[in-house]
Every structure is written in structure tokens, then in C-alpha cells.
Symmetry: C3
Subunit: 180 residues, 3 copies
């Protein structure tokens, strides 16, 4: 996938982003110790994490992890199960009625593979998940991936390429080895 | 695997299940902020999560995640390491001396893949893990899977099919690509 | 990988190790409920978890999981993102400038696959990660693995064999299945 150079690690933009990462991490560290029934406390923290209120019809089960939050765009009726992670600096959109299973991970930022440049640049590209997509438990979606409407990502799959609409994405099957 | 239609999303049974999910999530949100040495606090919360006391010989390291709990049947001498997840509505049994590594995930419920039906039905099937099975770190066990006694699931494997006894289940090997 | 027999489960060494696991778990249960901005509280707990202060140039985002801690050797400028797990009894070294993505898992201990011996022995071998390695999100590194300098482990890969320097380790690609 295209994962563009976003900024140099030693730059004012990087410093600004890093400050937001610290702030977002403070906010999620408070969110994830609230009793689940503290609706007012959760609503206030989600508003500060996302920069706007969580849509009334969206559901998020704790714990919930992001490192930026302000570029995580959650539509109406989104459902996010326990223990999901969103590194959203380069932008993540979850369309209406997207369902996300527990322990799924969305990553929009990274580094060059070239070792000389790895600590010099932040790379990244946005993730776009269209309406009615279902992301299975423990799946990982990498920078730059778009997933078309109605598609399904099976549990544990690592998605590095775009997914057309109405497509089932499967990871590798496990192998049975008779042993004893 | 067979994953049966369990109930319509808009039904009294679904509402009853959802109420239990909210309650179980409240209970785990309290469990997972307790200091580990608070044995009395943990015992009380496990009893409310599971609907009966945790067996005295069972060990669970925190954090621990379930969304229902009442259908999670843990035998004597079960060992569950950190950060495991049990979506147990359709029933999960871990037999005696089952060992579960960190970040393993057991999922008994889901949705039809068909996009028109996906938001209409909850599907699912029970998971049965026989005596002395060892589930490796980060493994995922999907709805309807039975794992026979003494078997081993390697770290990171996604198990979608039944596993006979005395079998080693392996996921895919990583590939080394010389790069620079 | 070679994963040696470390000790019998019923032995004084095992009892000593288990006592440390309880203590380390108490400490991480406290660490992971601290507000992220409590620098003094975090520094004190990391010192007790690791048996020495966290290097000043190292960064760890919460939550952070280990079950022993005293054999986790973190060099200067190590960066560990959210939700990583280190079972370090047999020793884990992360060299200078190693970067670790969210939800990565490092496991140095295990059990024999043979079912008769599984509950009798603890096996294990150390993990060594050289300078400037980047471990991707959700990757798993197994007992005995050495990873050479500058290498990259892709998101979700399970690493069971040694990795030479300057190597990109990739897991399996997901498959697109047109469905509807």
C-alpha cells in the first residue's frame, strides 16, 4: 500500500503530534479505569478524545485505545467491541453500521523500512472502512487500506491491500499435525 | 464450522442478552482495576461474572475479559494467563488442566456473512476445550470449535475447525525477506 | 527453536519464580490504573517491576504487561507502544532504538508439547532483539528467537526462528474472496 512520508521526526509538526499523543494517552488512561456504568464520565472523555461527542447511536466497549483520536471519524451505529486500538493520526473513517470485533487494530502511521531513514520519517496513509463492513476479532488493518461496503474481514486477518465491496477477507488456515 | 442462527437482533431474547452484556461489562470494568492482591474483591466479582465461584484451583491473571460470563464453564486447575477474552454467550467449556496463554481469544457468537442478514441475526455455536489442552499466546478459537484432549494450539493460530485429540495446531510460518 | 527445560514445575525454583510472578502482577495491576501523567508513580513502579530504573530515554505507553520483569533488559531509546506483553523469565533484551508497535507479545517460557510432560516442566529460552529493530503491531516473538540489527517484523507476524540482520519478516497475506 502507499504509505507516504508524512513528516520528519525532528520537526515542529512531529512535536505537535507527539504532544497530542501524550494528551490522548492521558485521556484514555482515565477512560479505561472508569466503571462502565459511568455514562457521564465516559461521554465527557470521549468528547475530549475525539474532539466531538461520540454519536449517540455508536457503541464502544472498554477498554478503548487510541493515540490521537481527533482523526478518528465514527459514523452513526458504529459498534466497537472490547480492546480495539486506533492509531489514527493519518485518519480513520468507520462508516455507518460498521461492526468491529474485540482486539481489532487499525494503524495509519509507521516508518520507512530502510534502516537509515526509519528514525527520520513518520510515514502513513488513511484507513477508510465503508458502510456495513464487519471486522472480525483480532484483525489488523494497515495504513492506506480502504475496505468497500458490506465486506467482512475474518478473525485474525492482516489487511495490507484494498478490499473491494462485498468481499470476504480470510487469513491463513491453521494446520493440524497429528502428534502423539 | 456450523454457526447456527441463535436469535433475531430485534427480539426479547436479544434484549435480555444485551442487558447481561452491559452487566458483565460493568463487572469486568471493576475487576480489571482491582489491585491483584485483593483476593476478596476478585473472588466476589468472579462469582458475579461467572454466576458461581471460580474453582479454587483455577488461576486467572488480569486483565480478564468476557461479555457474558454465565456460560463460561471453567474446570479445576484451569490456568488463564493475562489479557484473554471470552465471548461466551453460546457456551465455552475449558476442561481440567487447560492452559491458556496471554491474549488468547474465544468467540462463540457472530453474524451471518450475508450483508442483508448481518444486522438481523446473531449466530453462534459453543466452544469445547477438552482436558489438558494448551492454547498458545494470542491464539483465536472460533464458534463451534471442539479441541480434543492433550492437543496444543500454537501461538497466533486461528482455529476455525475441530481439532482431534493429541494434535498440534500450527499457524503459518513467517517469511524472511533479505532486504538491504 | 531450541526451548530448553528450565525447571520442574514442582521444585523450589518454580516456587520462587511463581512468587515473583505474583509480585510482578501486583505491580503491573497498579501501574496500569495510574493516570498517564503521574510520572513519579510510573517511575517508582517501573523501578520495582524491572529491578532498576527505566532508562530515561526509553518510552513505554500503557497498558504494559510483564509477568516477571527482572529479566527484561531495555536499552536506551527503546520505544514500546500500548498493550505490549513480555513474559521474560528466560530473558528478553531489546537493544538501542528498538521500536515495538502496539499489542506485540514476547514469550520466553512454555511447556513441552508432550502431554505427559507438559505439566511437569517449564521450558524456555531467551529472546534477543538487536539495535534499531522495528517490531510491528500485534507481532509475536517466541522463545529462543534472536533478531538481527535493523530488521523489521511486519504486523501480525509470528516469529519462531532466528532473523538475520537487515531482514523484513512478513506474515501471511490475507486472501480476498468475492462473495456476493
Amino acid at each position: 500500500m502507499p504509505s507516504d512520508r508524512l513528516m520528519r521526526i525532528h520537526s515542529p509538526e512531529f512535536k505537535a503530534m507527539s504532544d497530542r499523543v501524550l494528551r490522548a494517552t492521558e485521556l484514555t488512561s482515565r477512560l479505561n479505569v472508569l466503571p462502565f456504568e459511568d455514562e457521564a464520565g465516559k461521554a465527557e472523555l470521549f468528547e475530549r478524545i475525539l474532539g466531538r461527542p461520540l454519536p449517540a447511536s455508536a457503541t464502544i466497549y472498554p477498554p478503548f485505545y487510541t493515540d490521537h483520536g481527533l482523526r478518528l471519524d465514527l459514523a452513526e451505529r458504529v459498534f466497537i467491541n472490547q480492546n480495539c486500538t486506533f492509531l489514527d493520526y493519518a485518519g480513520i473513517r468507520l462508516g455507518e453500521r460498521v461492526m468491529v470485533g474485540p482486539k481489532a487494530t487499525f494503524i495509519t502511521v509507521g516508518h520507512p523500512v530502510d534502516p537509515g531513514e526509519r528514525r527520520e520519517w513518520l510515514t502513513g496513509a488513511p484507513i477508510d472502512v465503508a458502510e456495513n463492513v464487519w471486522i472480525g476479532a483480532g484483525a489488523t488493518v494497515l495504513p492506506g487500506v480502504s475496505i468497500g461496503r458490506d465486506s467482512v474481514v475474518a478473525a485474525g486477518a492482516v489487511v495490507a491491500d484494498d478490499v473491494p465491496p462485498a468481499t470476504l477477507v480470510t487469513g491463513p488456515k491453521a494446520t493440524l499435525n497429528r502428534q502423539w
